[in-house]
């Protein structure tokens, strides 16, 4: 393609990214509280008795579960006969500054589980958490002895932050988390996203655009794949300041979860109390929640049924990349199906 035409196409791809269709699978609102919404995806082929509740991180949006037609984990689960629910944390704002980790672990998640059970008329649920969402799910199971969670799936989840790349920045004394949390009632999503991208500066700030340019010049650019992912990456909701302060201080500066010192509402979050069927998925090239930071959970849990998938791929690419449909989703669905019958 000649450079002039390629430049126009390249610019068009970048400028129309915001219009890309994401999260298109039909769904209904089941329950809301503050900014949190519980969705249930429509399906006429529910086969498994235990519903699946998807929980994403507090940063970025959960549309990654339902990225685009043809590459949607939600659609895949529906096709496999699951009853799929999604707990969306929404877009917190200044008025949600008081929402700390306990609000998510002790209130929003258990309430979402309660409404899932009522809507599905089920007694138990499979909980699938990704990134911080996984940590929130693990904390819930560790804290709630009578929880209705039968199966717990943790995808690229930070548990032990020792030696993590992100920790090298935010765990140091010179990083004043209180200054940031006091200045912003809701930490701007762009700020958190910038820091995350800075972990791999060349890849995120240069290679992405250079690769798109090359592909456009060669006439091989796939807008339908690039735009939904780029749109998702740029969609960064704010992080409530209290939750941010607690996440950075407790997880990175003090590493409380694996030291057994995490307390929420006066109760200790004891990972040894996790006794659900447990599936942990780690990605070999994950720089945000690397496998050595997730694996320590195996030293704690008392689950009898424990499975670990360690696959090549990155923090997000493992589950949302073009090969996920063949390489990881069938294994996840198979693991769940075996444990979702009556």
């Amino acid at each position: 393609m000649n450079p002039g035409r390629a430049a126009v196409e390249y610019a068009n791809t970048l400028l129309t990214t915001e219009d890309a269709a994401t999260g298109t699978t039909p769904r209904d609102v089941v329950w809301t509280h503050r900014k949190v919404t519980l969705y249930r995806y429509r399906s006429s082929q529910r086969e498994h008795a235990v519903p699946v509740l998807l929980v994403f991180a507090l940063i970025n949006r959960p549309t990654i579960f339902d990225l685009r037609p043809g590459n949607s984990f939600v659609s895949f689960l529906l096709e496999e006969g699951f009853d799929v629910f999604l707990l969306d944390w929404g877009e917190p704002d200044d008025e949600d500054a008081d929402m700390g980790l306990e609000a998510y672990v002790c209130d929003e998640l258990p309430w979402g589980i309660r409404e899932t059970l009522r809507a599905a008329e089920a007694d138990e649920v499979s909980l699938l958490g990704w990134c911080i969402g996984g940590t929130v799910c693990a904390m819930h199971c560790a804290l709630t002895h009578d929880t209705a969670v039968r199966n717990l799936v943790l995808l690229t989840t930070p548990i032990d932050t020792t030696d993590s790349r992100y920790g090298q920045w935010v765990a140091r004394d010179s990083f004043d988390v209180d200054l940031v949390a006091d200045a912003y009632p809701a930490i701007p999503g762009r700020m958190i996203d910038f820091a995350n991208k800075l972990l791999k500066p060349k890849t995120n700030f240069w290679d992405t655009y250079a690769n798109l340019w090359e592909a456009t010049r060669e006439g091989k650019a796939r807008r339908d794949a690039y735009q939904p992912m780029a749109k998702w990456v740029a969609d960064n909701p704010p992080f409530p300041s209290r939750a941010y302060r607690e996440w950075i201080t407790w997880m990175y500066k003090e590493n409380r979860l694996v030291r057994g010192r995490m307390r929420l509402r006066g109760r200790r979050v004891d990972l040894r109390a996790i006794d659900q069927n447990l599936l942990v998925v780690t990605a070999g090239a994950d720089h945000i929640a690397p496998p050595p930071g997730t694996a320590p959970i195996f030293d704690f849990v008392s689950s009898e049924d424990v499975t670990h998938f360690d696959r090549p791929g990155g923090h997000i690419g493992l589950m949302a990349g073009s090969r996920a449909r063949e390489e990881i989703w069938p294994d996840l669905a198979g693991w769940l199906a075996e444990r979702c019958s009556e």
Partner: protein, 99 residues
């Protein structure tokens, strides 16, 4: 690991980033405070006023959620009682009937 990734992992980079973050946050706070003060002096609702209203709404929603949970708990209790009574009377009732 690539060179750029090695660079950002250095202690010096971490220190620089921490200091730069403090500067950016301090500047943002000053400009937000000035903006808010200006708006409020014009007798218009500033960001803080709107956030305060939002907090009041959130508190009201928290109370409504408590009521919802209590109603749902009572519904479950009532359904269980009805099913128990139906079993005692020998006429099983479906979930839909009992609602």
């Amino acid at each position: 690991m690539e060179k750029d990734e090695q660079l950002v992992q250095r202690n010096a980079f971490g220190e620089l980033l921490a200091m730069a973050t403090e500067n950016v946050v301090a500047l943002a706070k000053i400009s937000a405070d000035v903006g808010d003060l200006t708006v409020r002096n014009l007798r218009l609702a500033g960001r803080r006023d709107i956030a305060r209203l939002g907090q009041q709404l959130a508190r009201t929603e928290d109370k409504l959620e408590s009521v919802l949970q209590e109603v749902e708990r009572l519904q479950d209790e009532l359904r269980a009682e009805r099913e128990k009574a139906a079993r005692t009377n020998g006429a099983p009732r479906s979930r839909a009937q009992s609602q």
